[in-house]
């Protein structure tokens, strides 16, 4: 079983203008990924873009791997041109994973961060409270699928086109305040993936309430395996590699 393998593209479907799901079939035995791990992918052996890009594992079923991505730059737009039958080289699974929740938990997804959290919601069906923040209805992809795996779902969008208008962290605060009075077990751990300002706010919320908060970070990476030291994050114990010691960190470790 190798972590560097060839895979055939099964399909590369569009959810809407911005989001796609790439599904591939590895051509050799692979290591089974855990929720929170990632793979390095590129469109093909091109020199431009040169580097592979990291993508969270979104699904692993029937010997296929799938990745939910947003078309944003050169790498993802090349990825979006892949078609069924194309062969690419893949590195993974890489990085650590979300520690398994002991009981109920809170999952906070910001935008495409849902890609990283859906496998956790799937693994721990109906035990996660999903908080999903996005720019708009269009951008809150896979909401019904993720919602179906969750105990309860809360949505906020910047423009109010889906769920509440505003920040998802505000919704979470309200939830936690209510929880405190209604349920004795108000120390649900938080699992989060999304933009840094959201993660920073979550770490503050978690600290104030003394609850565990695990954040999956994103950084530009060259190698994905811990060699280049390009993707480091500042922690209380110095720089740590997002690709190796992460991408999931206890939010208390991060110097925000």
């Amino acid at each position: 079983m190798s972590k560097y393998f060839k895979a055939e593209i099964t399909d590369n479907i569009s959810l809407n203008k911005h989001f796609k799901i790439l599904t591939l079939t590895p051509q050799s035995d692979i290591v089974v990924p855990q929720p929170g791990q990632f793979y390095m992918l590129n469109s093909n052996n091109t020199y431009d873009p040169l580097l592979k890009r990291p993508f969270s594992i979104f699904g692993c079923k029937n010997n296929t791997l799938s990745f939910l991505y947003r078309i944003r730059g050169k790498g993802t737009s090349c990825l979006s041109n892949l078609r069924g039958g194309d062969i690419i080289e893949v590195i993974g699974p890489l990085g650590n994973n979300y520690p398994e929740p002991a009981g109920d938990f809170i999952a906070v997804a910001g935008g495409v961060g849902i890609a990283s959290l859906l496998p956790l919601l799937d693994k721990r069906k109906n035990t996660g409270y999903l908080f999903y923040g996005a720019r708009s209805k269009d951008e809150s992809v896979m909401l019904s699928e993720a919602g179906a795996l969750s105990k309860e779902t809360f949505v906020a969008t910047d423009d109010g086109s889906e769920g509440r208008k505003g920040l998802i962290t505000e919704l979470l605060k309200g939830f936690l305040n209510n929880l405190k009075s209604e349920i004795s077990n108000f120390t649900l751990p938080i699992y989060a993936c999304g933009p840094n300002p959201m993660l920073k706010e979550l770490s503050k919320i978690a600290r104030e309430r003394r609850i565990k908060c695990y954040v999956s970070l994103e950084e530009h990476m060259a190698c994905g395996v811990g060699a280049c030291l390009g993707c480091v994050v500042k922690t209380v114990s110095g720089y740590r590699r997002v690709c190796k010691e992460g991408s999931v960190f206890d939010s208390e470790e991060i110097v925000w």
Binding site: K3, Y47, L50, V225, A227, K234
Partner: protein
């Protein structure tokens, strides 16, 4: 069966392919992708006498057919390397080349002395593309006189084969190679990265936190091949070529231009088995061409007159 082995500075390499410092960690990172015993040599991540935490982020940015990096030479320091990383590398039957640097002559000497006393280090590669804090932060390897001082100082303190890794940010690479040779270097390696910059046009800021960074990858290869050719004409000691090598064909360009061995760098990031693919590719090329010994290829460039 073709002979791939070459001799460099008293080391016998089973093939001329090594890893470029800073692109292969301390070996462990890639050991799950390959049998490290297949490598010609392993060149570990650059070390300083004391640990260094490196630069803030962003540290890397992709550029056309290449990347800029400004890692800031983050490393665990010589002592931790010897204690924590060397025992792993000693398990393999390949030469371990320790790359090191400093920001003063004293720091270079200190690192070199400690590494020379460690069992399992077979050669030293000296990175001279660092600024000298005692000489107005001029990069050691861009000034022949400052370079001479530091190479001589290190040479005096180590009996291990000494490879001097040259900076390409100079006018006359042949001259710099000659300075290294005259100071007692056993080999030169080149090129280190080429200083570059990328700008974010909206914020009008450099993309890298360090403002500038070192360019590597296929984009630099033609410059590197030219410099290896020039350096190999200027010196008698072996030249180790590197700069954008991604395929066996790329490596052969360097060998033909005069390099006795080559190092693979940025390509490791894209293809974690790049070094193995390149070794296999060179062997296949030689077999296909009916060449029985890699040494027949080295320096065989037929200059157009």
């Amino acid at each position: 069966m073709v002979n791939l082995s070459v001799n460099i500075a008293g080391l016998r390499l089973k093939n001329p392919i090594m890893t470029a410092s800073g692109t292969f960690g301390y070996g462990e990172e890639y050991s799950e992708f390959m049998d490290l015993n297949r490598l010609g040599a392993i060149v570990a991540k650059g070390l300083s006498a004391a640990p260094r935490q490196g630069n803030p982020t962003p540290r890397i940015v992709e550029t056309p057919a290449g990347m800029l990096n400004a890692i800031g030479l983050q490393n665990i320091g010589v002592k931790a390397f010897i204690k924590e990383k060397l025992p792993f590398l000693k398990k393999f039957d390949i030469p371990v080349i320790a790359n090191f640097f400093g920001d003063s002559i004293d720091e270079y000497v200190k690192a070199a002395v400690e590494l020379s006393g460690a069992d399992g280090v077979h050669a030293l590669e000296m990175n001279i593309s660092c600024p000298n804090k005692q000489a107005g932060w001029i990069v050691f390897g861009t000034d022949p006189e400052i370079m001479e001082q530091v190479v001589k100082a290190v040479r005096k303190e180590t009996k291990l084969p000494l490879i001097v890794k040259l900076s390409p940010n100079v006018t006359d690479i042949g001259l710099m190679a000659k300075v290294a040779e005259d100071c007692g270097a056993d080999a030169v390696s080149l090129i280190n990265t080429i200083t570059g910059m990328a700008v974010d046009v909206k914020s009008r800021r450099p993309v890298l936190a360090n403002n500038t960074g070192g360019l590597s990858g296929p984009a630099v290869r033609p410059i590197a091949v030219r410099m290896v050719w020039e350096a190999s004409k200027a010196v008698k000691i072996p030249v180790i070529g590197m700069g954008g090598i991604t395929t066996a064909g790329d490596a052969l360009e360097f060998l033909i231009a005069g390099a006795r061995a080559v190092a693979v760098g940025t390509a490791n990031f894209i293809n974690p088995t790049a070094v193995i693919d390149i070794i296999d590719g060179i062997e296949k090329f030689l077999t296909d061409e009916g060449i029985s010994d890699i040494n027949e290829i080295i320096g065989s460039l037929k200059i157009r007159s």
